[in-house]
Symmetry: C2
Subunit: 197 residues, 2 copies
């Protein structure tokens, strides 16, 4: 039934907003009820438990986050520009109102020690992000070690931006990424496709 689909979407919209803003445990099912406009009965017939709702929230957020990133990266054509576009997208994300870091890092910190499923979701998300970076790095003809280094810059920028409440870490990450890219090009590649900024 497509009606269930719509209700599911509304429930997940409300859950995402609340869980991300306040943390999972600080949000009761009553708050999800109020924010979604769904009754508790309907909520529990769509999701068997709060934990199931949390896991679905994480799954959907993972997909949407990576799609949004890929969409932005796909506006660039040169391999090196595509790589750097990751950090531009992070910068835009950090500036969004209500930005409070990575939902997976936050959920892992809150529940990773107590829920194996949440920890698994966080691992999956970060693994997928790393794989995506590895593809971009490979398309630039760079060694895969750079993917791990870019991953660290991105992750560090996310948490630093969240805690300090500013978007500048994205700029620092981009600068560092560019320096690493150039250093690598100087050592092992013909010509960097990206000139000095």
């Amino acid at each position: 039934m497509t009606d269930d689909e719509a209700a599911r979407a509304r429930a997940l919209d409300a859950a995402e907003e609340l869980f991300y803003a306040r943390g999972v445990q600080a949000v009761g099912m009553d708050a999800v009820r109020n924010a979604s406009g769904l009754s508790l009965k309907r909520l529990y017939q769509l999701f068997p438990s709060k934990e199931a709702l949390v896991l679905q929230f994480l799954r959907r957020r993972d997909e949407r986050w990576r799609q949004a990133l890929a969409r932005h990266v796909d506006t660039r054509t040169s391999p090196d520009e595509r790589l750097l576009a990751v950090f531009d997208w992070l910068h835009a994300w950090f500036r969004e109102p209500g930005f409070r870091g990575c939902a997976f890092i936050n959920s892992f910190g809150e529940l990773g020690g107590v829920s194996a499923d949440v920890a698994e979701q966080a691992r999956h998300h970060k693994q997928a992000f790393r794989d995506y970076l590895a593809d971009l790095v490979a398309a630039s003809g760079l060694p895969s070690d750079l993917a791990d280094q870019f991953l660290l810059l991105a992750e560090g920028a996310i948490t630093t931006a969240a805690i300090t409440g500013t978007a500048v870490p994205a700029v620092h990450a981009r600068t560092a990424a560019l320096a690493l890219l150039r250093a690598q090009a100087r050592n092992h590649r013909a010509d960097p496709a990206v000139g000095p900024r």
Copy 2:
């Protein structure tokens, strides 16, 4: 009274182990009571509330964490080696049993949206860490931008190590830091004091 001091230490020891391993909200005061061997009455006469206990736990962990880092860095003499020693220390930290990332990032994710004091503690800790890196970078005669970049590498390594459960992010971070350091030296400095690895 020195008796209170000892009891405080035991309470904080228990709280730190439990909060760090399972998250703050998943640990009740009863668990702290059992783990510390203190009675609830004593606990509440030492700390007026759970929130006070949480904040003290964070304060003490901040101090100890930075002291441990500084102690390790102080085993090195050359400025560049001291800078890289940060990542060696991270590597050792990541390998400790029960490592579960940065207590401040975790607490920020769990409570930062709901407790201004916890958010403030996280900000303070990260600011102090950045200041420390800035000192090391300045001692190496490097521009302060590098401090921000090293901070991102370190933060990224911490969360990536926590979520993936391995210590290798420290190695990647160190490699990236070394590359950034050399690139900077090539541009603006006389001679890097650190040869090829």
